[in-house]
């Protein structure tokens, strides 16, 4: 197994775990009101998008097309 393959495997599994957990946290945070809760929701949502990027990058779908 090459280093790149190992890095991709870690990124793939990690993105699923971290993205799934962040989605769960966002779901729990959703009914909470207040400025800090709203900002947290926004930031968690953007972080989930980051996990999606990492997921597709680990599958070589994003990042090597140009």
């Amino acid at each position: 197994m090459t280093a790149a393959l190992l890095e991709r495997a870690i990124a793939l599994i990690g993105s699923l775990i971290v993205g799934g957990t962040a989605t769960f946290q966002l779901k729990n945070e959703w009914p909470v009101e207040g400025l800090d809760a709203q900002v947290t929701k926004l930031l968690l949502g953007l972080m989930i998008i980051g996990c999606v990027f990492a997921f597709f990058a680990s599958l070589n779908i994003l990042g090597n097309f140009s």
Binding site: A4, I10, V18, T21, L35, G50, A57, N64
Partner: protein, 214 residues
């Protein structure tokens, strides 16, 4: 169905915990909490503008270049290592998740879990910084070789500085929390630390896309 809060039941213990939590409510803190939160969000917005100025400068440089990565001395600079970047990104995003768990543990008055999640967050943050150091040492360009190198090192360096400040911030918060500075009803610093750490994560989402994926 409502559960009766009779002694010995979980509902009773929950009620006791809530009463304990709000026993030490500080009226000044309660009055100024929203104002301080607004001020902290304004700080995050100002930081966002700082990053935006560098990001738009990078976008201008990139879209006005005939080829990207640029050609230096007749050779096109190699693209960055996407696999390593994705792995390092997950380390940072994972630290955001653990920080969220740390704050939730504090809210539920579970100090042991709070300490565990906070230490994990700090370790993951330090791990990300280590990954960035490795990336800098193995980067296919340097600061002065091209606009790509200058943009990459400026933006990721600025972000790395924020992560470093965040690691120090969280360490101080951990020390304060264990010295009794925060209570079950008074923990603005922990909320601010969590928001700051999420913000640092989100800035990296943009940088990861711009430098590694685009």
């Amino acid at each position: 169905m409502a559960v009766a809060a009779t002694p010995g039941t979980a509902a009773y213990l929950d009620r006791i915990a809530v009463e304990e939590r709000f026993r030490d409510v500080d009226p000044v803190y309660a009055e100024t909490r929203d104002i301080r939160m607004f001020g902290f969000v304004l700080f995050l917005l100002a930081d966002c503008i700082l990053f935006s100025s560098f990001v738009f400068a990078y976008l201008y440089l990139r879209t006005s270049a005939p080829v990207w990565p640029p050609i230096v001395d007749g050779h096109q600079i190699e693209r960055l290592d996407v696999a390593f970047g994705a792995m390092n990104s997950i380390v940072l995003f994972g630290s955001g998740v653990t920080m969220h768990f740390a704050l939730e543990s504090w809210k539920h008055l579970n100090k042991l879990a709070f300490n565990m999640w906070l230490v994990l967050t700090i370790l993951l943050g330090a791990g990300f910084l280590g990954g960035q150091a490795h990336e800098y040492l193995s980067a296919p360009m340097n600061y002065t070789s091209s606009v790509f190198g200058a943009s990459f090192f400026t933006l990721t360096g600025l972000h790395g500085f924020h992560v470093f400040c965040g690691v120090v911030f969280l360490t101080v918060l951990g020390i304060q929390a264990n010295r009794g500075v925060y209570t079950g009803s008074k923990y603005f610093g922990l909320i601010a630390g969590t928001l700051y750490w999420h913000f640092v994560d989100v800035i990296w989402v943009a940088l990861f896309f711009l430098f590694y994926l685009w």
